[in-house]
C-alpha cells in the first residue's frame, strides 16, 4: 500500500506516492531520477548515498522516505545553480579529488556540512568528519587538499582573509589539461 507524501527536494515540494518501507534513496532514484545518490553498502557505512537533511548529512539508504516528510532534502544535484559549480565542487575538480567518483557526491555534501559547521578545519578535523565517507580508489589525500582549498575559498568569499599557508589555487580543468599537453609536447 502506498501513501502520498510531500517531499521537499532541492528547493521544490512535490507529492509522491511511496511504500512505507522504501528508503529515501530508493525514492530519489526511482521517482526523482536523481542519480547522484548511490547505494554502495546499504548499511550507512560508505556514504555514497549521502544527502543533506535540513542541512545535515545523512545516509539516504537508512532513512524511510515517509519519515523525510517536512524536511529540506538537498542532493548533489541541488548544491549549485544549473550550469554553475559550488566552490567545493570546483575545488574537487581543481585537485582531481576523485577517481571513479562514485563516492564524490557524498564527499562533497559531507564537506559542505563540515565547512558550514567549521569554516576553518584542520587536517585532523577534515579526516575525522569525513571518515564515514569511504573512497575505495583512495583519493583521500586529494580530497583533503580540495576541502582545505574550498574552505579557504569560502572564507575569502565570506570576507575573511584566506589562509596564506594554503597552496595556491590551481586553475580550471581546461587549463590543467593544456598544461599536461604541454608537458607531453616538451617530452617529445
Amino acid at each position: 500500500m502506498k501513501q502520498i507524501i510531500k517531499l521537499r527536494v532541492n528547493g521544490s515540494e512535490d507529492e509522491t506516492a511511496v511504500h512505507s518501507h522504501h528508503t529515501l534513496l530508493e525514492v530519489l532514484r526511482a521517482e526523482y531520477k536523481l542519480f547522484g545518490a548511490r547505494e554502495g553498502c546499504g548499511i550507512g557505512m560508505c556514504g555514497a548515498c549521502t544527502v543533506l537533511l535540513d542541512g545535515r548529512p545523512v545516509s539516504s539508504c537508512l532513512l524511510l522516505a515517509a519519515l523525510a516528510e517536512g524536511k529540506e532534502i538537498v542532493t548533489i544535484e541541488g548544491v549549485s545553480e544549473p550550469g554553475k559549480l559550488h566552490p567545493i565542487q570546483q575545488a574537487f575538480i581543481d585537485h582531481n579529488a576523485f577517481q571513479c567518483s562514485y563516492c564524490t557526491p557524498g564527499f562533497i555534501l559531507s564537506a559542505k556540512s563540515l565547512l558550514a559547521e567549521n569554516p576553518d578545519p584542520t587536517v585532523e578535523q577534515i579526516r575525522h568528519y569525513l571518515a564515514g565517507n569511504l573512497c575505495r580508489c583512495g583519493s583521500y589525500y586529494k580530497i583533503q587538499e580540495a576541502v582545505l582549498d574550498a574552505a579557504a575559498r569560502l572564507r575569502s568569499e565570506a570576507g575573511a582573509p584566506p589562509d596564506p599557508s594554503l597552496s595556491p589555487v590551481i586553475g580550471g580543468e581546461a587549463k590543467q589539461l593544456n598544461n599536461f599537453e604541454n608537458n607531453w609536447r616538451d617530452m617529445k
Binding site: 500500500m1 501513501q3 511504500h19 512505507s20 550507512g44 545516509s59 519519515l67 568528519y129 565517507n133
Partner: protein
C-alpha cells in the same frame, strides 16, 4: 511484498496508547539507522511501524539541579554530542556520543533508539552505567525509571516491555572531584565498532584516596560488564601502579568475553586489562 503501516503519532500519549492496543508485530522506529537495516535484510517483518519522529517533546536536552542531565530520547546522538549543556556538565559523555558510528549515523540515530536497541558493541551503554544513569519508560498506564545497569538483558534485549517507550535518559551530575573517561579500542578500521570499550568514573576524597571507582567494559559480552569486587579494592586506597594493575587484572580474569571478527576471547581479555589500566590511569592522573 512488505505492506507496512506507518503510524506517526503527534504526542507521547497518543504513541503509548497506540502501543497498548493489542497488535502483532509493531515496531518502534526513531532514527531508523538500525531498524531499516533489519527491515531491508528481512530480519524483521513488522505489520506496523510506530514512528516517534514527531514527538518534539522528547527532543529536549536540559540540566536540572539535583537531577542532572535530562536528555530526551529523541535527541539525536549528534545533538547530544554537540549540546553545550552536555559538553559543559559532562564532557566525557558528549565525547562518547561523538564516538558512535559516523557523523551521518549520529545525525539520524537517537539517544533513546541507541539504548533501546541494546547493541552489545555500542559505546554509550558502559559509560552511562559507570555514571549511574537511568532511563524513564512510559506506557499507557504510567511511567517508571530503570537504572541503566538493569536495562540491558542480553543481545538486543532490554528490560523494556513491548508497550513501553523509552522517553528520557537521566545522567546524574558526577560528584565534585570526580573524573571520568571512555576509551574506545577498535582493532581494525577507525570506522569499526569497538572491540572493547572501557568507561571509568573515579571519585576522589580530599586526601587523595579513592572514594569510589566505577569501571565498566563494553562490547565484550552480551551486556556491559562491571566487576564490583575489583572496584571495591580501590575504595579508600591510593591508586598506585600496582593497585591499578591488580584491578585491571581482576577485570581481565573475571570477564568471559565473546569472540567475533574484532577479536577472540583471548584477545579481548588482553585488551580489557590494557584498557582498564589505561582508563584508571587517565582518571587518576590528576592525583
Amino acid at each position: 511484498m512488505p505492506n507496512i503501516k506507518l503510524l506517526q503519532p503527534g504526542s507521547l500519549n497518543e504513541a503509548v496508547s497506540l502501543l497498548s492496543a493489542p497488535s502483532d508485530e509493531m515496531k518502534i522506529i526513531s532514527g531508523g539507522t538500525a531498524l531499516v537495516i533489519m527491515l531491508k535484510n528481512r530480519l524483521i517483518a513488522p505489520a506496523t511501524l510506530l514512528s516517534l519522529g514527531r514527538l518534539a517533546e522528547l527532543r529536549s536536552i536540559q540540566h536540572e539541579r539535583g537531577t542532572g542531565l535530562r536528555i530526551g530520547a529523541l535527541a539525536t546522538l549528534r545533538e547530544a554530542e554537540l549540546s553545550p549543556i552536555i559538553r559543559e556538565k559532562n564532557p566525557t559523555l558528549a565525547d562518547t556520543f561523538a564516538k558512535v558510528g559516523n557523523v551521518r549515523v549520529r545525525h539520524a540515530a537517537t539517544v533513546g533508539g541507541n539504548l533501546s536497541e541494546a547493541d552489545y558493541a555500542s559505546d554509550p551503554p558502559c559509560v552511562l552505567i559507570a555514571m549511574g544513569a537511568r532511563v524513564k519508560a512510559r506506557n499507557a498506564k504510567g511511567e517508571r525509571e530503570i537504572p541503566l545497569a538493569n536495562l540491558f538483558k542480553g543481545f538486543y534485549e532490554t528490560a523494556l516491555a513491548s508497550d513501553e517507550i523509552l522517553t528520557e535518559l537521566i545522567v546524574p551530575d558526577l560528584a565534585p572531584g570526580s573524573r571520568s573517561a571512555y576509551l574506545k579500542y577498535v582493532s581494525r578500521s577507525s570506522e569499526d565498532r569497538p572491540c572493547v570499550g572501557m568507561a571509568a568514573v573515579l571519585e576522589t576524597q580530599a586526601d587523595g584516596t579513592c572514594k569510589e571507582l566505577r569501571l565498566v567494559a563494553g562490547a565484550v559480552c552480551e551486556i556491559p560488564q562491571e566487576i564490583t569486587a575489583a572496584e571495591e579494592q580501590a575504595r579508600g586506597q591510593r591508586l598506585t601502579g600496582p593497585l591499578i594493575e591488580k584491578i585491571a587484572q581482576a577485570y581481565a580474569e573475571a570477564i568471559e568475553p565473546l569472540s567475533d571478527l574484532r577479536g577472540s576471547a583471548w584477545y579481548r581479555k588482553q585488551i580489557i586489562r590494557v584498557l582498564a589500566r589505561r582508563a584508571i590511569k587517565q582518571v587518576s592522573a590528576a592525583n
